[in-house]
Symmetry: C2
Subunit: 232 residues, 2 copies
Amino acid sequence: MTNASYGQFCPVAMAAEVLCTRWTMVLLRELVAGSTRFNELRRGVPRMSPALLSKRLRELEQAGVVERAPAPGAPDTVAYRLTPAGRDVLPVVEAIGMWGQKWVETEPSLENLDVELLMWDMRRNLNTDPVPAVQTVIEFVYPDLPRSQSRWWLIVEPDRTVDLCHVDPGFDVDLYATVDLRTMTEIWMGLRSVANAVDRDVLVLVGPQAMIDTMQSWLGLSPFAAQKKLAS
Amino acid sequence: MTNASYGQFCPVAMAAEVLCTRWTMVLLRELVAGSTRFNELRRGVPRMSPALLSKRLRELEQAGVVERAPAPGAPDTVAYRLTPAGRDVLPVVEAIGMWGQKWVETEPSLENLDVELLMWDMRRNLNTDPVPAVQTVIEFVYPDLPRSQSRWWLIVEPDRTVDLCHVDPGFDVDLYATVDLRTMTEIWMGLRSVANAVDRDVLVLVGPQAMIDTMQSWLGLSPFAAQKKLAS
DNA sequence: CCGGATCCGGTTAGATACTG
DNA sequence: CAGTATCTAACCGGATCCGG
């Protein structure tokens, strides 16, 4: 209907009609990662226009990949959730991510840094297991960014949920990390280790030695890290 | 350059910029399957315009996924081959194909039948192991198609190479298969078994009983069959 | 035949603003 | 919060043509 189809009965072509339109795979990554609200999805794909996002969500709904439902707790708003078919795109997203991590030249895309996207992803992928079971606050300071974007707080609650603030929440800070955006992005992508960044003084950590020593593990990294090199 | 990028450093987004533009995944399927020549690729994606095919091949070359080289035996023409990065898209193509086989409604796409595409894929995916090591000729007759498209010959040479003809090659035929295009497509996609089609008289096989009995295995099916149902 | 290039009309996507 | 509306730029499909 909206898309002219590839006109093939091959499963690859049939799936590509649904999954390989512009922005769709990136949107699916957001859904797989657990975002459900329209504006939550928008934060994950900030350069996608809301009109196109709305259109893609409707197409995915039509294809049986997502379903719209009233949001729990706010029945007058909408939550988008993956159907069983949608949850089954996880292997596809993983395969694509693995390929990208292994084979795409990172230099050009390291020009497109976005601190909000980075912090948002860190919030989502933080590995809370090694973090003590009391409220823990980590402040990130990016001296190279304008003041309005230079300070971020990750708050791990005792129940292991993670909050992200970009205004001072007023809690005591357990660990300070001062770093430039590019370095932090490289670490998060698995292109560089915490230890290496500390050694070269591009990442400065202030806090309990135990947290510093385990940072590499609780950072969690992107699900695609460990795929390539650690350019050490 | 040609595509506005997603502007994200996430591996999924970076890979999707390269792999998830229109027609690209279907083209990669052809390359993974072993096609190398421009017009050979065109036969695999008959509804893709040659201009766009040319453009995509250049983009994939630029991305390090394919490489152009003089064709062996015809040095004034071109062969497109996958690089190591290109061969590594196989898991992606497989994941997408598996998802399509499992989750895409087949009814609409069964409207887009194409006998040439089907026979071309059969030629490529025929499992020659169970076929005797002498020249073996199988004739497919599609009574529902116009005369110019109704008869096809698959020739398995003693060295296990497979040729496809749509004009009578004049060889003795070992096995005749009379079938309608939709049924044969369903069988090839794994949506229906040979035995079921024979039972319902929509597939008529004439030839040695041994070949008939093993047809389900030497047909080979698409690499994605066996993923779902056999709607029996 | 092979390997494209060129032109043109229709569709899709991006940017920005706005609304219930 | 959850989208529309509108306008413009980019892309795509289809046909045709061209040099070896």
